[in-house]
Symmetry: C2
Subunit: 350 residues, 2 copies
Amino acid sequence: MKNKLGKQSFQFPFRPRIIGSCSIVGEKEGKGPMAKWFDLILEDDTFGEKTWEKAESKMLKQAILIALQKSGHEKENIDTMLSGDLINQLMSSSFMARDLSIPYLGIYGACSTMTESMILGSMMIDGGYASNILIGASSHYCTAERQFRMPLEHGNQRPPSAQWTSTAAGGMVLSSDDKGDSAVTQGQQVKEIYITHATPGKIIDTGITDSNQMGPAMVPAAVDTIVRHLTDTGRSPDYYDIILTGDLGLIGKEIAIDLLNGAGLNVANVYDDCGAMMYDKKQDTHSGGSGCGCSASIFCGYVYREMRAGKIKNALLVSTGALLSTISSQQGESIPGIAHAVAVTTERGN
Amino acid sequence: MKNKLGKQSFQFPFRPRIIGSCSIVGEKEGKGPMAKWFDLILEDDTFGEKTWEKAESKMLKQAILIALQKSGHEKENIDTMLSGDLINQLMSSSFMARDLSIPYLGIYGACSTMTESMILGSMMIDGGYASNILIGASSHYCTAERQFRMPLEHGNQRPPSAQWTSTAAGGMVLSSDDKGDSAVTQGQQVKEIYITHATPGKIIDTGITDSNQMGPAMVPAAVDTIVRHLTDTGRSPDYYDIILTGDLGLIGKEIAIDLLNGAGLNVANVYDDCGAMMYDKKQDTHSGGSGCGCSASIFCGYVYREMRAGKIKNALLVSTGALLSTISSQQGESIPGIAHAVAVTTERGN
């Protein structure tokens, strides 16, 4: 257990690199405050496909293929691919992976999928089972609404606590080797990004049954994972330039700050939430964004680019998932929450 | 990449052990030819719960808890848990994991879930990220029928090629350490079981769109993974005492034998399929069993016990998944197939 740290965390001594990244978002997300960080903004959320599900799958595939291109590798150099999404039976990921013909492992962590992929992918590289791994996660407002809530045509009224499933996808290439020369762009040396630690989370369910309160339902899991990560690694919150949860939304973010303060952790200067960052208040999404693609696209866009540019040195991404289904809600079950944390740095050495 | 072997396989030099295992099946499965190998046969497929989904989740939880008990470990010694099932958003696994309060990673590979869990769990142990891992997979006839096909009350007529989703669950404890003394049962030294290699599979889709032809839809992926595994490891089929696919069913099994013969591999003496083994022909399941729980329970029951007893030395489990969803079928998509292989042995050394 040379690479287990504390009660629940892992360290990656060989420091897998993120050598390629791509974020794609839909129209609405492209009009929000994060717009400038995304690689591609769709002009039309159908992305030229006949169904929203096919559009989501295409968006995920494009994100992964552009990340691959930016890594400087060919498909043939990729050992395994890890991906997930919110559609039943991971339809977006399965059909994306079908087209790529790379060994594929599907994972499901609801909106925590991106960090779950990052943890397992990092382990595959750090443990010497792979040199290059493709990972991805996606969500789409229209596929999620009709699967989890109501047909769009119904014009469902959303309560103020509801979050807006982001039409978004993120893809990354993790590698055992430096990005190296290709990292010099426009005459400027850009930073390598290393994945150094991870903390997979426990499921915590505080009994919330209202699926329009998903942010608050996930907060206890997010806080538990953050506290556990800091304890296991012996770090304080200000070790990080940014601690990002995703996606607690506007209401969940406030509760998370309260709970973290209650645990003696002052995160005021470093903490934000991907769901709270994705939209402007006047975009009328109520409590902000959600969906696997929300934290995936913000990490693959904003965080990745700012790290490459040396503006962010140490980041902790804590994607959060609400593990409910329509059937579990119909059967009166409450919402199990989960959160997985991944620590990335641009600093060399440990 | 010290632990990658050939194009697509991994080796596990630290040889994770399977130190506990449990299989639970439903009434019908308990009347089939494999009955004597299961740890628990339900008297009633509702397992005392109000809904089938809750029954499946309880069955999975019991399988995991009994495997844990048989491993001689406490819940506190478990580092992480990996599990999946067929219900949308992995309802059985999520609610099982909620009750156990162990870091949890959800995975989805349709009926290939058990080997996907074994691969990722073995990597976590072999790479030094964990000492003990719990893994599990489940399926339930009644949850699958109403989710993927028709309400049971509809009395849907099944074509001869249809497979019967097994009501079954399997749980295992993987460990970095020998089972040791506790392996001496009833005065008889039983064998350690080591996981030595794995081959994650690619998605192969040959254009079959009929969801009553799932076995045949998965065959090409299964054959591809077996051929790839044997090539990567330099082994011939008779290296193994048993090569088990799961779950191609009766029709799929015949096609697999043909294709393997066509590839110059004579598997006549060693090959079988979990879906073909699960039921007696007179049980009227048509083309045999399917579902994550089918290969999980047959491996955790029959294979595990025969290996412990020294009757099987080398086994290759190749769980197969049909990555379709109701929505993908409705949208005219064909069925993507996948298969992941795991090699286990009772032989010491390499």
